[in-house]
């Protein structure tokens, strides 16, 4: 416990993976799936003149036991409805939601409330009771579950230490920072020892540094306690940092799902590509972009952008290109990030033109890149 709470305060170096990607089959079978959506649709009926909404349609996928699965989508994509189906806060219009081999969508009343104790949830705005101290907020689900006072006290102390705020025991939420409030939220969600932790935009109200610390804490909780984590987010950086599995939602449909590394090294759907662009960016530095012209000039360079996808893919590219083709390749701009242990990004290279503006070197470079299956495009020329 102690080591875990210390760990949660350490900040990781940029780009360092939190956990190695594990070999989990994307097609999880019945027994190793923690959550399974079976032919789910969710329709909100027309109400007071507002038309009905199809929030979710034809949802079929599984969340592997012990995984950290990101569900990413723009606002209105159906993320919130999806996560609320898992803990029974909402019922599907059609289909079943199987959590830990039980059909939670079929439960109601007391049975549902008992099942909800094994599913924790954290929220964007923390949702702490302002009238209770940090310790009493964490105690709330235990009181509701009917724990004895002494047991609650011991468990709360344990949880405060786990999330690294043992000294905030008697503080009211109004006296805590955003990050500390979310730590209380996490401790509260874990109080009844759930198997699943649902995170609904839990870091969206936090600054980047606090976000990182909270995501580290969640990664540790997943590793140490084996809790399956489902992350709802609209931020690619959150998925990149924490998730190993990802589900991309758009307009109530799952458009892509699988390992984070696979999905984001070869994004197919435009939505996925736009999320990827948020992290790696596809714009050139202004000073370079302003110099690019359409016509080649003698003694100038052709500007070629190479997409880099895969483990260690870009490491030696420039060196090999220079050596094998004997060219003075210049690196004009580069942006490479790591997603799920895979390199994803782009290099912008300058290839020298002949004295009279000949493009021989450019042709050879493009052929070489295509031979090694690096997608490349010519952006123009610089003097």
């Amino acid at each position: 416990m102690k080591a875990l709470s210390m760990n949660a305060h350490q900040s990781l170096a940029i780009g360092q993976p939190i956990a190695p990607p594990e070999a989990i089959s994307p097609a999880a079978t019945a027994s190793d799936a923690m959550v399974r959506f079976e032919a789910i649709s969710k329709t909100y009926p027309a109400y007071r003149g507002k038309p009905g909404v199809n929030a979710l349609e034809n949802i079929d996928f599984a969340i592997p036991r012990g995984s950290i699965t990101g569900v990413i989508g723009r606002s209105g994509a159906g993320k919130s409805s999806l996560v609320r189906l898992i803990n029974g806060l909402e019922k599907p219009t059609t289909g079943r939601v199987i959590v830990d081999n039980r059909d939670i969508s079929a439960l109601a009343g007391r049975e549902l409330r008992l099942a909800q104790r094994s599913i924790g949830m954290i929220f964007q705005h923390f949702n702490l009771l302002s009238s209770r101290t940090a310790a009493d907020n964490i105690a709330l689900p235990l009181e509701i579950a009917g724990w004895a006072k002494a047991d609650i006290k011991a468990r709360v102390a344990e949880l405060l230490a786990l999330v690294g705020i043992a000294d905030k025991h008697d503080r009211y939420p109004s006296e805590l920072s955003g990050g500390q409030k979310q730590r209380v939220g996490i401790a509260r969600a874990l109080a009844t020892r759930p198997d699943v932790l649902l995170s609904d935009e839990a870091t969206s109200a936090l600054d980047p540094q606090t976000t990182r610390a909270i995501l580290d804490l969640l990664a540790n909780i997943n590793r140490e306690l084996g809790v399956t984590i489902v992350l709802i987010t609209h931020e690619m950086s959150v998925v990149r940092q924490l998730a190993r599995e990802v589900v991309v939602l758009d307009a109530g449909h799952v458009v892509e799902s699988g390992h984070v590394a696979d999905i984001f090294t070869h994004p197919k759907h435009p939505i996925t590509q736009s999320f990827l662009a948020e992290v790696i960016g596809d714009s050139l530095p202004v000073s370079l972009a302003s110099r690019i012209v359409a016509e080649p000039a003698a003694g100038g360079q052709a500007v070629i952008r190479v997409q880099v996808r895969g483990a260690g893919a870009g490491d030696t590219l420039v060196a090999r290109l220079a050596r094998e083709l004997g060219l003075d390749v210049s690196l004009l701009s580069a942006r490479i990030d790591e997603i799920g242990g895979q390199h994803v990004g782009s290099l912008t290279l300058g290839i020298p033109l002949g004295i009279s503006g000949g493009e021989d070197a450019v042709t050879r470079t493009l052929a070489w890149l295509s031979q090694y299956q690096f997608p490349a495009e010519r952006l123009g020329y610089v003097a």
């Binding site: 803990n87 806060l89 007391r110 549902l112 409330r113 008992l114 099942a115 909800q116 104790r117 599913i119 924790g120 949830m121 929220f123 705005h125 949702n127 009771l129 302002s130 009238s131 209770r132 709330l140 689900p141 009181e143 509701i144 579950a145 009211y172 939420p173 109004s174 006296e175 509260r188 969600a189 109080a191 009844t192 649902l198």
Partner: protein, 221 residues
Amino acid sequence: MSPELINLIVQATFESLYMVGIAAALGTAFGLPLGVFLATSRKGELFAAPLVNRVLGIVVNATRSTPFIILVVAIIPFTRLIAGTSIGSTAAIVPLVIASTPFIARLVEAAIREVDGGLIETASSFGASPIQIVFKVLIPEALPGLLLALTLAVVSLLGYSAMVGAVGGGGLGDLGIRYGYQRFMPEMMLAVVVVLIALVQLVQSAGDYLARRVNRRLRHR
């Protein structure tokens, strides 16, 4: 002022406190659950019963629209049924409770509706029953607002209690009318008003203090 008159004022003050105290307690006992229900029974809410909500809302509004002095005389048979008599301080408590219950219910409803809906969802997410949500989330979170509502109700009851002289209810208002106005004793009128002002100040200050004490949203220490 003669000792007899001072004695009258003291006695009337106790009558007022008796009527207002009991009426506030009973009004809260009925008004609090009614207010919580009104705040949680619309479509899609915790105790969803839209039709009952609508009907109760109409009854509450109707009671609140009836001028208090008319209510007092209109329900005399009911008062006699409950209190065994229709005159005196104890009998006066009946209309006071009937008038304050819907008033308190509306104030409670407003205070409960102020509680962030996200907290209800949160408590539901870890398996709290609707009753647990009321007692562990809604009422504690609304407590500052509820205390201010109760303060307002007590102050209003002090005003109402001045009218129950019409059915021999006694109290400060009755004393002011009978001695100050009808017997033309301005000093008696003044004394009654001063005591009432002091009482209202005292109740309001106590209510404000308690509401501030339990409010953890913003701490000024």
